[in-house]
């Protein structure tokens, strides 16, 4: 591991100030195992370090009692049924089934036709949370920053069932 090299001191030497100099002892420590361990730990910490922080969507809700009245023809309502199938209706038109893949183009076409279009998303309470995030992502993709997200009322559930 380590070896000690004692320097040969031929008799007692006297320094400048008459003090006796000790024989210099050069200690050579083998640092290989320590460096091995250091690298091992280095690799361990490099591998286990996660620089990833969780991501999030930002949500700004209106005041709880905020009321905005809009003409019904400007409203595109999207219903998310319990089985996560989609139905859409413009104003008071009958409900039409729509595929998730067509949703973004539907939003974009709707806004192109009517710049004042307001999206109202009604989700069944027993649907999962994932379609809500999917819906918000689709709206974001379609550059729609303003939309309403509300749970379905019983009348909506009945309307969806009737449109199947």
């Amino acid at each position: 591991m380590s070896d000690v090299a004692v320097a040969e001191t031929g008799g007692k030497k006297t320094g400048v100030f008459g003090r006796v100099k000790k024989g210099r002892v050069g200690v050579r420590v083998d640092m290989t195992p320590m460096v091995d361990i250091a690298f091992l730990l280095l690799i361990f910490f490099m591998v286990t370090t996660v620089f990833r922080r969780p991501l999030a969507m930002e949500v700004n809700m209106p005041e709880a009692d905020a009321r905005v009245e809009v003409p019904e023809s400007n409203v595109l309502t999207v219903y998310v049924a319990k089985d996560e199938k989609l139905f859409a209706r413009q104003g008071r038109d009958p409900l039409q089934p729509i595929a998730w893949t067509d949703l973004r183009s539907r939003f974009e076409a709707g806004t192109a036709a009517n710049p004042n279009l307001i999206i109202l998303v009604k989700i069944h309470r027993d649907a999962r949370y994932e379609p809500m995030v999917d819906m918000m992502d689709t709206l974001e993709d379609a550059k729609m920053q303003r939309f309403s997200l509300i749970p379905m009322q019983e009348a909506d559930v009945a309307a969806v069932e009737a449109a199947r």
């Binding site: 969780p54 709880a64 949370y129």
Partner: protein
């Protein structure tokens, strides 16, 4: 002609110095993922906004709809019943007024539970909050099963 074996001695000191420097850097920056007391599978989104590392109030909703409130240290999450969720949120907000509220919902939690929680947040005057998500790949479409043909 006999070639003389010359023993080359490389000074490894600078290399070892750098190794230790990196070692100390990684040791100090590593944050071990806290063993999560509440298992949550996050929904996917294209949003790339980062959740702040500190100064957050995390509201966790697991797949069965149980709610937990915690700081960024999720290990000390305490459960909150639906009827005292409002009081718990108000209390945490008062204790930490500058904190960012982050909703960490499981993708399989019911929308009803999440809607109730968002209603509660609105009542607690928390109109700005974040929804924690995982990054969705660029070619993946939103929707069930990657948007495959409208429905599962």
């Amino acid at each position: 002609m006999a070639t003389r074996r010359s023993s080359v001695r490389i000074d490894m000191t600078p290399m070892v110095d750098v190794a230790f420097l990196l070692l100390i850097f990684f040791m100090t920056t590593t944050q071990f993922k806290a063993p999560e007391s509440v298992a949550v599978e996050l929904p996917l989104s294209r949003s790339e906004i980062h959740v702040p590392e500190t100064g957050t109030i995390i509201l966790t909703v697991n797949r069965t709809g149980q709610m937990f409130i915690s700081s960024e240290n999720v290990a000390d999450a305490q459960e909150m019943a639906p009827d005292n969720a409002l009081a718990a949120i108000v209390q945490w907000r008062e204790r930490n007024p500058g904190a960012v509220v982050v909703v960490k919902g499981d993708k399989d939690a019911s929308f009803g539970a999440m809607a109730d929680l968002m209603d509660t947040l609105a009542k607690a005057k928390t109109l700005r909050f974040n929804l924690m998500t995982d990054l969705r790949k660029a070619d993946d479409q939103p929707g069930p099963d990657g948007g495959a043909a409208g429905g599962r």
